[in-house]
Amino acid sequence: MAYLDVCDVTLTFKGIAALMGVSFTVEQGTIASLIGPNGAGKTSMLNCISGRYIPDGGARGPCSISLDGECLLSLPAHKRTELGLSRTFQNIALFKGLSVLDNLMVGRHGRINYGLLSSIMYWGKTIRAEERHRRRVEDVIDFLNLSPYRHQHAGRLPYGVRKRVELGRALAAEPKLILLDEPMAGMNLEETEDMARYILDIAEEWGVTVLLVEHDMGVVMDISDKVVVIDFGQKIAEGTPDEVQANKDVIAAYLGTEDAAFAGR
């Protein structure tokens, strides 16, 4: 069984189908990309995996999403992070009122296990737990070169840095699978190259499996081990970057077909 196994996922909004029977798999430690034209259903797919949307039928339906053999659909969104799932958002979703450090500490929320009373008293156990988790967060800060921004409020950071902080928050949870929703969107060439390097390092050094949604085809074809293409809610291709680039359906989805171009005449 594959590491991430998405099987026959259908998602409809009152009759409008966003996803129709999409299935694909991602192997452990690899980088997989999910691509497709605008509105194809890429982010809907991520939302189904991360728990914001529930596919039709939920855990009892025909579909199944499992991570390392464990069923995700029967869990609410906030429990899925404990199985090692974390994600970033297309439109930055940082906590503006918290410092970069605290944003990353929220990323570790599920792993910090003291109770309300410890929080109120802030005694030895709490202090030691906070220190221990702070150390892990500092590793992420070092890795992403965020140390100059450590104590700045997330709302005041430049765009490129915010994208990095969001990646850091997802990494701070020590995930096994990380979902990245357009991490390169709106970045300049240099920032894009940095981000691509970070993603490669996450997969190779941290051993995290990556599922990437991205429109920058150069990046996608360069760093992906596997590419899944969806269009109008249906999977049209799955394979290595070279296979997908040569696929006729994919070319048609992105560039249109000759027949369609002349159909109106």
Binding site: L94, G97, G107, L116, I120
Partner: protein, 348 residues
């Protein structure tokens, strides 16, 4: 906001302190010493104003945890304070020792607050405000028609609190008791704000969708925010009831809720220090207006009869002026003043 120049830390523990630099600790210590010494030199009226400030500080900091930090607007805070006053008052009347009465008042209020916090799962912003307004009205009704428990429209009469055979029967004695409770409440909320729970509350306020993805159970944490906030509101209510010696349902009306909301907005949403500023400001304001009216009554005799109406007008005016000119509250102004003096006499 960056710390002062030359302030650096060699441990994570040092950085997590509430008061970080030696100078800050010295000033806080001095301030506490002044607060301990000051009632000895003040007349009873001024001490009573200080006592009301301490109670308002507890109420304001509790509402700031809920509305400022967690983003859940509550228009029922005045009624929650009332629940604490009646619960603690009933405990006292049944012979429960004072500290336990205050504690049980807080716990009862926490339960009530958590029940009325349940709609927050579905309702946000202005809609939640309406739902908590309903809580306010329901509780007001209960206060007035509660029979034996609330004393109906007659209210309850309480004796001054006693602890270990010592009776807090004068303004100055109450001063030290209330001072201790206010300081403890501030410490409690500060601790929450710098640990897991505080971060979860702010994450719910700032972006609840990604808070959930990061493992924060939205419903549970909102309920906890309502619970902790109501617990402190109940403590404030219990202290208030024991301090004034008389509780009636009319004290805890919608006006009180709005006053507390105003304290939090004027002080600074989400800031513990701001709650203190807001509580001091809105408790002192009516007293200052009274003094002014008395001073002016020699020249304008009619003013003494209109003090009440003028107070309401000034209250509204102050609130509007703050929303327009200082939307981040007095805490923000305080930070600017500190930043200015840090560099004085240089501009940069």
């Amino acid at each position: 906001m960056q710390g002062k120049c030359g302030l650096f830390f060699t441990s994570y523990r040092g950085e997590a302190q509430i008061f970080q630099s030696g100078f800050q600790k010295l000033m806080v210590g001095l301030f506490a010493a002044v607060l301990i010494a000051v009632p000895l030199g003040l007349d009873n009226y001024l001490v009573s104003v200080m006592n009301l400030i301490f109670i308002a500080v507890i109420g304001a900091v509790s509402l700031n945890l809920l509305t400022g930090a967690c983003g859940q607007i509550s228009l029922g805070h005045g009624a929650f304070i009332g629940v604490g006053a009646f619960a603690a008052g009933q405990c006292s009347l049944h012979g429960v020792p004072f500290p336990l009465a205050i504690l049980s008042g807080g716990l009862v209020t926490a339960l009530v607050g958590m029940v009325f916090g349940v709609p927050s799962l579905r309702l946000k912003g202005i809609y939640l405000a309406i739902a908590t307004l309903a809580a306010q009205l329901v509780l007001e009704f209960v206060f007035l028609h509660g029979g034996e428990v609330t004393g109906g429209s007659n209210g309850l009469l309480l004796d001054p609190p006693q602890m270990f055979g010592f009776s807090f029967d004068s303004e100055i004695r109450m001063y030290y008791l209330l001072f201790a409770f206010a300081a403890l409440s501030l410490l409690m909320v500060s601790n929450i704000m710098r640990s897991k729970y505080g971060r979860a509350f702010v994450s719910i306020r700032d972006f609840y969708l990604s808070a959930e993805i990061n493992g924060v159970n939205l419903f549970w944490y909102k309920i906890i925010a309502f619970g902790v906030s109501s617990f402190l509101a109940g403590v404030a209510g219990g202290l208030w009831g024991h301090y004034t010696g008389y509780i009636s349902g009319e004290q805890f009306n919608i006006g009180l809720s709005i006053t507390y909301l105003a304290m939090v907005v004027i002080g600074g949403l989400g800031s513990v220090l701001g709650s203190v500023f807001g509580a001091v400001f809105l408790t002192v304001l009516p007293e200052v207006l009274n003094v002014l009216a008395n001073g002016l009554s020699d020249y304008i005799p009619a003013i003494t009869q209109r003090v009440g109406a003028i107070q309401h007008g000034v209250f509204g005016l102050v609130l509007i002026l703050f929303l327009v000119y200082e939307p981040e509250g007095l805490a923000h102004r305080w930070r600017l003043i500190k930043a200015y003096w840090k560099l004085y006499p240089f501009a940069h």
